[in-house]
Symmetry: C2
Subunit: 315 residues, 2 copies
Amino acid sequence: MDAEPTPSLVAALDIGGTKIAGALVDGEGRIRLRSRRPTPAREDGETVAAAVEAVLADLAASPLWESAGAVGIGSAGPVDAALGTVSPVNVPGWRDYPLVERVRRAATGRPVTLVGDGVAMAAAEHWLGAARGHSDALCLVVSTGVGGGLVLDGRVHPGPTGNAGHIGHLPVDLDGEPCACGGRGCVERLAGGPHLARRAVENGWRPGPDGDVSAAAVAAAAHAGDPIAVASFERAAQALAAGIAATAALVEIDIAVVGGGVAGAGEVLFAPLRRSLRTYAALSFVRDLKVVPAVTGTDAGLLGAAASAMAGPAR
Amino acid sequence: MDAEPTPSLVAALDIGGTKIAGALVDGEGRIRLRSRRPTPAREDGETVAAAVEAVLADLAASPLWESAGAVGIGSAGPVDAALGTVSPVNVPGWRDYPLVERVRRAATGRPVTLVGDGVAMAAAEHWLGAARGHSDALCLVVSTGVGGGLVLDGRVHPGPTGNAGHIGHLPVDLDGEPCACGGRGCVERLAGGPHLARRAVENGWRPGPDGDVSAAAVAAAAHAGDPIAVASFERAAQALAAGIAATAALVEIDIAVVGGGVAGAGEVLFAPLRRSLRTYAALSFVRDLKVVPAVTGTDAGLLGAAASAMAGPAR
């Protein structure tokens, strides 16, 4: 990732609103050991931190631990990599929580690198996935939320606070609905799973006998040809295309890598996404932009945290 | 600009649809010599190139020319800095025109750096203007078109082809009007001077006895309190705010520097712009974003071209 000597084994933490995953990852991106605990997201901050320490203790119990030269953390955001703090929206007990310091102590002084989960996913795809070999890329996670990270000039670009690539909160519909972030007309407000599903229901789509009104159920209906379900995916694709086109106009990327649960719907998302991109990405230097599915899957957070640890602190 | 030895005097070219400006610029940003010719924009490409050579010949006639170690070009876009070609929208005779090679020959082999005009403006503001000392900034030109450039990690970020920072063609209104770029709902379509003026006229604003329906005339009416003129500036400000907020979410900037003729309207643009930014830039890491006027004025293109020449080729 850079010119510094890189540790050949690192510890990685992937911290989300539902689970805390940990792993020891080697220099080839192989996961040598895993641990995982539920995130006690409704508890106080100390309890959440204790769960992180428990995951680290699982890793430290391995004889491999001694070889782990650094720790990388990919966390639900917002994060502040400059201050070493995190304030995950879905973990109210953590506000400006000094996670880096806490992990450094638990990892007996090893260097700790913190990035947002979108940046971690981009680091994983750039290291081992679909963005490999690309100098300038946007990697997106389209799931309950919409996140992302950037690769610029051949390196992951976390930004000063580790939040760059926040594609879900680009305003693409300036007269649109208020978003949970406090903004308006954000990509996530149109393309996040719950919004996509609710739009289908509001427009008259009805779930099957199981009552499942998730984005996955809407995806199944779209695959079966239900026009309302198809239209809801098309609208999500339109918002994603506008966000990707904005990114391309702004920083010149030649590939967008799309992962996450909603992206798992496959061509009902990707086909209208590629179509809409032709509408929004018209300038000569963005016209050849490719859109491809992510490949690192559910391990993206761990692998990206590992890649970030190997690259060392952002600045 | 970087660790390489930088020439203490360079030649700069600022190439637009109406004029070709040239200068010799020293290491402190002082313009030591100027030349300027109209752009024969409706003529064939060879005639336009001859005008560039004439400007260079004016500079070369000075005894200072021998000390000029490099040439920087800021050109109306799109440009392709990787290939050394330009295709300015308003100069139809130049399509993929090999400007760098042509200028290199005219400048007897001196190294030539090419960037888009928005990148040049950002380089000027970062070197000598309002973005000085900022590691991460967006600089915009709001004029007939809307352009811009980025500073990331303390350096101008031209992108692989020299077009990064194309803020005017971020889609912020995904169901909006078609844009001249081929896209839809772009910032420029709402905030460019002619669009701003036409919107005022369409909504019932009437010019004074001089019949002036320019953006400057609408600005004067807005200053005098005309509600339709005020509303047209507010709509432009809203689009610019969405674009600036998108940039902040994507690459983490802490300042946006706004120049160009429409920005010359002052508070009738800046006041609603700051207000709208509070709507669109709500995330913790973008909330403290400042918006300030540019200071390098009409010399921004020349000074930015000079800065780019001193920094050397982008990659």
